[in-house]
C-alpha cells in the first residue's frame, strides 16, 4: 500500500516562491496565469499495511508529527494499493 501526501500552504499565508513562479510564467508568455501556489508531494510506502483506513490514519499522524507544519500548511492523504 502507498500513501500519496500533498502538502500546501494555508490560504492567507504568503508564498513568495509561488509568486516568483507566477511572475516567471507571465514573462514566458502565459499571461492568463492568475496565481501559483507551491507545495510538496510525498509518497510513503507501507508494504505491511493491509487496511486502507488504518493506513490513512497512520499517515495523517505522520503529517501532524513531521511531514507538515500545521501552523502554515494543510495536508491531504490519499491511499492507493
Amino acid at each position: 500500500m502507498k500513501a500519496k501526501v500533498h502538502i500546501t500552504l494555508k490560504n492567507g499565508v504568503l508564498d513568495p516562491q509561488g509568486k516568483a513562479v507566477e511572475h516567471a510564467l507571465h514573462g514566458l508568455g502565459f499571461p492568463d496565469v492568475g496565481g501559483v501556489r507551491q507545495g510538496k508531494y510525498i509518497e510513503v510506502d507501507l508494504p505491511k499495511q493491509k487496511d486502507k483506513t488504518q493506513a490513512k490514519a497512520d499517515v495523517e499522524k505522520m503529517c501532524k508529527a513531521l511531514l507538515a507544519n500545521t501552523v502554515i500548511e494543510n495536508f491531504s492523504v490519499e491511499v492507493v494499493d
Binding site: P16, L66, V71
Partner: protein, 230 residues
Amino acid sequence: MRAAVIVFPGSNCDRDIAVALEQSIGKPTTMIWHQDTDIPSDLDLIVVPGGFSYGDYLRCGAMAAHSPVMREVKRRAEKGMRVLAVCNGFQIVTEAGLLPGVLMRNRGLKYVCKDVHLRVEDSQSAFTAKYKVGDVLRIPIGHAEGNYFADEATLKQLEDEGRVAFRYCTTKGEITDDANPNGSQRNIAGVLNKARTVLGMMPHPERLADKKLGGTDGRAMFEALVETLA
C-alpha cells in the same frame, strides 16, 4: 554558570557561539552531539546554534526538532533551564514547539547575509537584562528562511505578554518595512517563551561579540546570561 552547545550534523555556528560564551563565562563550554541524550545535570544554559541541520531537509529545523537530544532539551526547558536558539536554532525550537510561529522563506527569496539593526523590546529576561528597551543594536543575519510568521491570535498574545524581544529597525530605531530584511510579521527578529526562559532569534549575537570582529553589541547578551545564571 555552565553552558552547553548542541551540535547537529550541518550545524556551523556551534564553535562561534562556544567561543563567545567562553569569553564571557571564562571556562569551556560543553559540546553535545545530537544523538547524546545524556545531558549534564547541572547545566544552566543550552544553546541551539545556527547552521543547516540535516541539510534543511523537509523544512528548516524539522528533522533536528525530532532528534533524540531535542526531546531532552525540551524536557529541561519545561523545567526552566535557559535555552538560546539562534538562526537555524530558532527554526529548530519553533518546529519542536518550544516557541510559537514558524520561519518561512524570505520575502525576497534570497539568502540575506548582512548586518542589520535591532530595537530591543524587552529587558526582563536573562538574555536581555543588560540591554535597555529602545536600545538599537547592530547584529549580523545570515539566512534564507527568517520570515517570521504566526497567526493573528498568536501575534497578539506575544505582544500582550511583551514576548517580542527584538525587532528589525533603522539605525535610528524606527520600525519600518524598509528595515525588514526578510518580511517578518511586525518586523519580529526574536521572541521569548511565556516564562522568558527560551529566546529564539534569527540574528547572530555571537558574530559581533568581540572587538576584533568589528563590534560588541552581541556581547551584552552573553554577559547578561553569566550575571543572571552565575
